[in-house]
């Protein structure tokens, strides 16, 4: 058996060169998805390109305008960042839900996105926070909104030689907060059967002036649900508005039956979680 090469480039340019030169070279960040797929025979890379030694891929910077998350920053490091957790509690809680403590020590937010699982916990939270993906490639750098990054289960907009470098999120507007909830049968360790992220902005009277809702694990990719947001905007997030948002989320869902849940179950729960996440987000605005 030919040994698979291990490469640890020190710069984005070197990583892009390696990935461009070799079809089978795969980006290796936390390894929590790629190594599992490799061991199960689902992926046969010719080289693992470990991006964790590239300085700009690791780390968190928050300016007065935006958050920049290096794509290879581990979930554990993100969870320990106090300012991030204060500004984006929903994103922090989504990151905190990725796997076990051990997995958090390895798994990265970029990997969670690039693995393109419709059930990825961070995706919904990134979508409602208007995150953008910074991509480096042979043709230079480009940026895409996170909701268009994943195109199908296991597929992204990344082209050969391209690499997700960072995720940027604009600082939340005043009186804005987010929340993320998922449903799993156990209390930990499961893949989401359904998930919902909500971000709301309330004016001084408690009227919702802006909202974003995203649902996960209920369609081929995480979905932004504008109809659910519309149901919230202009309301005081009363029961009627929340129920309308829940109904919109359920209506937008197009789930499948699988070992983790049924179509009917996922559809229902997507609505329940949307409603609950909206309440939690609103409750965080003080």
């Amino acid at each position: 058996m030919v040994s698979i090469r291990y490469e640890a480039p020190q710069s984005v340019a070197d990583a892009v060169r390696l990935l461009s030169a070799e079809q089978g070279a795969k980006v290796f960040a936390g390894g929590t998805d790629l190594l599992v797929q490799f061991k199960m025979g689902a992926r046969q890379p010719t080289a693992f390109v470990d991006i964790k030694r590239i300085p700009e891929l690791v780390g968190i910077t928050i300016t007065d305008r935006a958050l920049r998350l290096g794509a290879a920053t581990s979930a554990a490091v993100i969870g320990e960042h106090d300012e991030l957790t204060r500004l984006w509690p929903g994103l922090a809680e989504a990151v905190h839900l990725i796997g076990s403590t051990q997995i958090q020590g390895r798994g990265t937010v970029g990997g969670n996105l690039c693995n393109a699982s419709p059930a990825a916990d961070t995706t919904c939270a990134l979508i409602v926070n208007r995150a953008e993906c910074v991509i480096a490639g042979p043709k230079g750098e480009r940026t895409v909104p996170v909701e268009t990054f994943c195109t199908a289960p296991g597929r992204t907009v990344l082209e050969r030689g391209e690499l997700l470098v960072a995720i940027t999120i604009p600082r939340p507007a005043p009186r804005t907060a987010d929340a993320y909830l998922r449903l799993i049968p156990r209390s930990e360790m499961d893949i989401a059967v359904a998930g919902a992220g909500v971000s709301v902005t309330l004016d001084a009277n408690g009227v919702c002036t802006a909202a974003r809702v995203a649902i996960g694990a209920v369609a081929p990719t995480a979905l932004l649900v504008p109809d659910a947001a519309k149901a919230l905007i202009g309301s005081k997030l009363d029961e009627r508005a929340l129920n309308a948002a829940a109904a919109a989320a359920s209506a937008a869902a197009s789930p499948i039956d699988d070992k983790r849940g049924t179509v009917a179950y996922r559809r229902t729960v997507a609505g329940v979680l949307t409603k609950r996440a909206a309440k939690i987000a609103a409750g965080r605005i003080r």
Binding site: F38, F48, G99, T101, Q102, I103, G105
Partner: protein
């Protein structure tokens, strides 16, 4: 061609040869003879292979061996200080927090990571921190008690 890796394991410099796709778990167990780190699933779902990599709790089955280059690794074999057991090792013994014992090294490493970060965790914090460590024998009761007792 094998890669030659220089690293630090349990406070001692160590070096080993590995393939590019070999896991750190395999290098520890098979090449370095450190079999205290156990393999329960190889997919990061059981916690039996928990180690500390630069002080961070990780599953050794999902770390590539060459990643250890220049890093610091702590395994169960490095927890006791000479002839003095770590407080967690003592409380596990005193609380009968093990039956078959296969999950024990992983639990002790994971619990050490918790207590290093948060010396007095609540029961809930302890249970959620250790949710990635499966035990099929004890129902967790005595394990949680042992960890909380070690935190006092």
């Amino acid at each position: 061609m094998k890669l030659h890796i220089h690293t630090t394991i349990n406070g001692e410099p160590a070096e080993f040869l590995c393939d590019g796709h070999e896991t750190l778990l395999s290098a520890l167990r098979n090449t370095l003879g450190l079999t205290g780190t156990k393999e329960g699933c190889s997919t990061g779902d059981c916690g039996a292979c928990s180690i500390l990599l630069d002080g961070r709790l990780v599953p050794a089955c999902l770390v590539l061996a060459p990643e250890a280059q220049g890093r610091t690794i702590t395994t169960i074999e490095g927890i006791a200080q000479h002839d003095v057991l770590h407080p967690l090792q003592k409380t596990f013994l005193e609380n009968a927090a093990l039956q078959c014992g296969i999950c024990t090294p992983g639990f002790i490493i994971a619990a050490k990571a918790l207590l290093d970060k948060k010396p007095k965790p609540t029961e809930d914090e302890t249970r959620f921190w250790l949710a990635g460590n499966l035990c099929r024998c004890t129902g967790y009761d005595k394990i949680i008690r042992a960890v909380m007792e070690a935190s006092v």
